[in-house]
Amino acid sequence: MFAEVPLFPEQASTTAQRVDALFFFLCTVCGTMAVLIAALVLYFAFKYHRRAEDERTPRILGNNRLEWFWTITPLFVFLIMFLWGASVYTSVALPPPDAMEIFVVGKQWMWKIQHPSGQREINELHIPVDQPIKLTLTSEDVIHNFSVPAFRTKIDVIPGRYVQIWFQPTKVGNYHLFCSQYCGTSHSNMVGTVIVMEREEYREWLASQAATGSLADQGRQLFLKFQCITCHSADAAARAPVLEGLYGRTVPLKDGRTVVADDAYLRESILYPEAKVVQGWEPIMPTFKGQVEEEDLIKLLAFIKSLKPGQTPVRNEEASPPLDAPKVPPGGNPKPRESVPTYRPQGKSTQP
């Protein structure tokens, strides 16, 4: 029975090896410290235990040199711990540029996963081995925490904002996914499995999953459905900025500030359009708060991110194309329409 009791978690990501090395270093240093103190106390306890009731002791009040020694030494040791810990932490803060992005929405009490090519799953995350994976996460209700012990990483999933983590799985297998931030009644059932697969196997899995177009495709449909196109059109009558090539650009605002058009900005502009009004435009956009769900927001974002010059749909396109519309390969996008004028910079009209 005891043979099956794990005492150390599996190492299944590049982060895991780095965290464990640091952990063993801390164990060694702290273990040495503990043994040293324990040995001293036990030695003193044995050597100086009271043998006679009238025993006397020397009046030793302290030793400044010793005090400074055991003040400075730990400080130095702690500095090493801090620096090493900081280097591991910062290395996992920034995802590599080639990371594959997957979206996660937490809610009481499940994990909803959206793959870029449109596949959805619940409480399961299929990923290919040896591929850096970047997760963008948000919550529909309370704070959750996405934690995969075998990868040695976790992040609080906070409503109202996007957070990111990344990891690179190194070993094929099934691993626990836990919610580590208490979130209510079924907190301990908000668990799932991360399934790390060989690349080939992963491709087969993707193909076997039903998906109605990529995330960006699905976002395009929503863009039409919510009538975003009415104002964010690419023709002369547009009443709002064109969104082509917007993602990652610096946008000048009406009040003179600038903002980088990242996920958080796009999200805010859909839910709270008046928070940051683009220079040269009027705040006429209604809020979509309460109308767009977190998962749909992610689709819209995926669409906006993918929107290249000339790709804005025409205004009178039907909101819902037939379901059997030709499937677009992951990352691919509808062809630019000839009739639409090509890329125009933002903030065109009233700007002198």
Binding site: V41, R56, P58, I60, L61, P149, D156, H187
Partner: protein, 552 residues
């Protein structure tokens, strides 16, 4: 060869009105009214002792059910909601209604005036008021916890607590809010007393370390508690009136609550710990019969902890999406606050060098404190380390760490203090054998309970889990088995302490041959502590001076 010289105690000419021989604070008056309307700091300490002991066992009962439930991976004993209410009740009762108040209000109340040679605290009526305020707060919270319960966890994280929880959040917080005032009153009282009422000759640098610890704690209580009060009010305002503060739906920021909460709740760990550190300094010097090693460094380390303790709160949010820069700063500051704690441990160890150690019960508890606190402190270094916290945050590693600090540390220190000053408080000795047995059982039971949790935590078992993957069961059973031993260790003192009141042999004024003004009075002390105001001529812990051989 009067004991006066040895301890720096010199009777002053001015005499108090004579009192009847044998009169003490316990037998000076009888009846319920004489207790409920008392302004004697010693009687108020006893009121607190009784109240807090009851609360400790209620909180402990919740822990017992939690550990029983965790013996099986599927949580067969209680349903999920009940489990969540149990760990919430356990946390709330143990933190706010036991650990925070226990040492200052029981031992501090009893001993601060006696140690500085005063007849009472600066504001005796406020002292009594603080007990009433505390008790009212405790009753409200207990009522809320028993009548329906609350399932937010003791941390009340938003927006769960402010919007989603359907349980008694508001009454629970109200009780905590009210009891906070008692904490502030006690802190103010101690600060005023120590500033204005020290006996002639008792300079700051002659104060026993127990007093320094209480001074540092009082400052934290006065400064930090209002922040908690504000945070709780804001949660209430959002919950009741829907004002957007923490809920992103209403334009709030849920992480803001964590900043406010931990700005109080990190320093609060030092409120629990510093008094026990003070106790340890008193007990170790007495039973090692030697002055404390590095008095000044220990004093400054207490002050250092009190100050730095305010600057580390965001280490509770390393995985809460805060900026990398913020994480780096708070990690570095967290390492800094570990230094003064390390200084204390080294000084206690050095005090034992060339000492004469008597392994009486309080000394066993104090040495247990040093051992468990050291382990708690060292595992804290893991959590301050950003790279490791990434993995162990919100797991049983954290649970084990803070139980080592707060139970292994603070409670062990409290037990040392209670056993050390029990003869002074009651005039009776408890069973030597049973008390040493209890110290041993608590130490062993504690290690068995919480050591497996470090392993569980590194394996990744999250905290607050009602059910868990089956491969974690063996370690959980080990932990629960340890907890049953620990429970025996905590119940045992209840019996032999109470028994000592009836059958304990009289202790005499100073059974441990300790220095310190409190030992210069009869046991139990007379209502006004000192017939004559003492004059202090030496520092504390003069156990090695020539005259000490002459005592008794």
């Amino acid at each position: 060869m009067s004991s006066a010289i040895t301890t720096g105690f010199t009777p002053q000419a001015k005499a108090r009105p004579p009192r009847a021989p044998g009169e003490n604070y316990l037998n000076v008056a009888f009846g319920v009214k004489s207790w409920l309307l008392t302004t004697d700091h010693k009687r108020i300490a006893i009121l607190y002792l009784v109240t807090l002991t009851i609360l400790f066992f209620i909180g402990g009962a919740a822990a017992t059910v939690i550990r029983l439930n965790l013996m099986t991976p599927n949580g067969e004993l209680v349903p999920a909601d009940t489990y969540n209410k149990l760990f919430t009740a356990h946390g709330i009762i143990m933190v706010w209604f036991f650990l925070v108040p226990v040492v200052p209000t029981v031992l501090g109340n009893f001993l601060v005036p006696m140690m500085i040679g005063a007849r009472d605290l600066a504001f005796p009526k406020i002292n009594l008021l603080s007990w009433y305020v505390f008790t009212i707060g405790a009753i409200i919270t207990l009522w809320a916890l028993l009548a329906g319960g609350v399932d937010t966890g003791w941390t009340f994280y938003t927006p769960f607590s402010s919007k989603y929880a359907r349980t008694n959040v508001i009454p629970t917080m109200l009780g905590i809010f009210i009891s906070g005032f008692s904490s502030i009153m006690t802190g103010l009282n101690f600060i005023a007393t120590m500033h204005t009422m020290r006996a002639p000759g008792l300079t700051w640098w002659r104060m026993p370390l127990f007093l320094w610890a209480h001074y540092a704690v009082s400052v934290i209580q006065v400064l930090a508690t209002p922040v908690l009060a504000m945070a709780l009010i804001l949660v209430g305002v959002e919950r009741v009136w829907g004002v957007g503060i923490f809920d992103p739906e209403l334009g709030g920021d849920p992480v803001l609550f964590q900043h406010l909460f931990w700005f109080y709740s990190h320093p609060v760990v030092y409120i629990m710990l510093l008094p026990s550190m003070g106790i340890t300094s008193e007990v170790i010097t007495c039973f090692a019969r030697k002055p404390i090693f590095g008095y000044v460094f220990i004093v400054w380390s207490s002050i250092g902890i009190a100050v730095l303790g305010f600057l580390v709160w965001a280490h509770h949010m390393f995985v809460a999406g805060q900026s990398v820069y913020s994480a780096l700063i708070f990690s570095a500051l967290s390492y800094l606050v570990a230094v003064p704690s390390a200084i204390k441990v080294f000084n206690w160890t050095a005090t034992l060098y060339k000492s004469s150690i008597a392994f009486e019960t309080p000394m066993l508890f104090a040495m247990g404190f040093v051992a468990l606190f050291t382990m708690g402190g060292l595992t804290g270094l893991f959590l301050a380390c950003l790279g490791v916290d990434l993995h162990v945050h919100d797991t049983y590693f954290v649970i084990a760490h803070f139980h080592f600090i707060m139970v292994g540390g603070a409670v062990m220190g409290y037990m040392a203090g209670l056993h050390f000053w029990w003869p002074k408080m009651t005039g009776r000795m408890y069973s030597d054998f049973l008390s040493k047995l209890a110290a041993l059982i608590i130490f062993v039971g504690f290690i068995l309970t919480f050591l497996p949790q470090f392993v569980l935590g590194y394996l990744g078992m999250p905290r607050r889990y009602h059910v868990y993957p089956p491969e974690f069961q063996v370690l959980n059973v080990m932990s629960s088995a340890g907890a049953s031993i620990l429970a025996v260790g905590y119940v045992l003192p209840l019996f032999y302490m109470l028994w000592s009141l009836y059958a304990g042999k009289p202790s005499g004024p100073n059974p441990w041959n300790a220095t310190g003004l409190e030992w210069q009075t009869p046991s139990p002390p007379p209502p006004h502590n000192f017939d004559e105001t003492p004059i202090v001529t030496t520092g504390p812990y003069e156990y090695s001076m020539e005259e000490s051989a002459l005592v008794h």
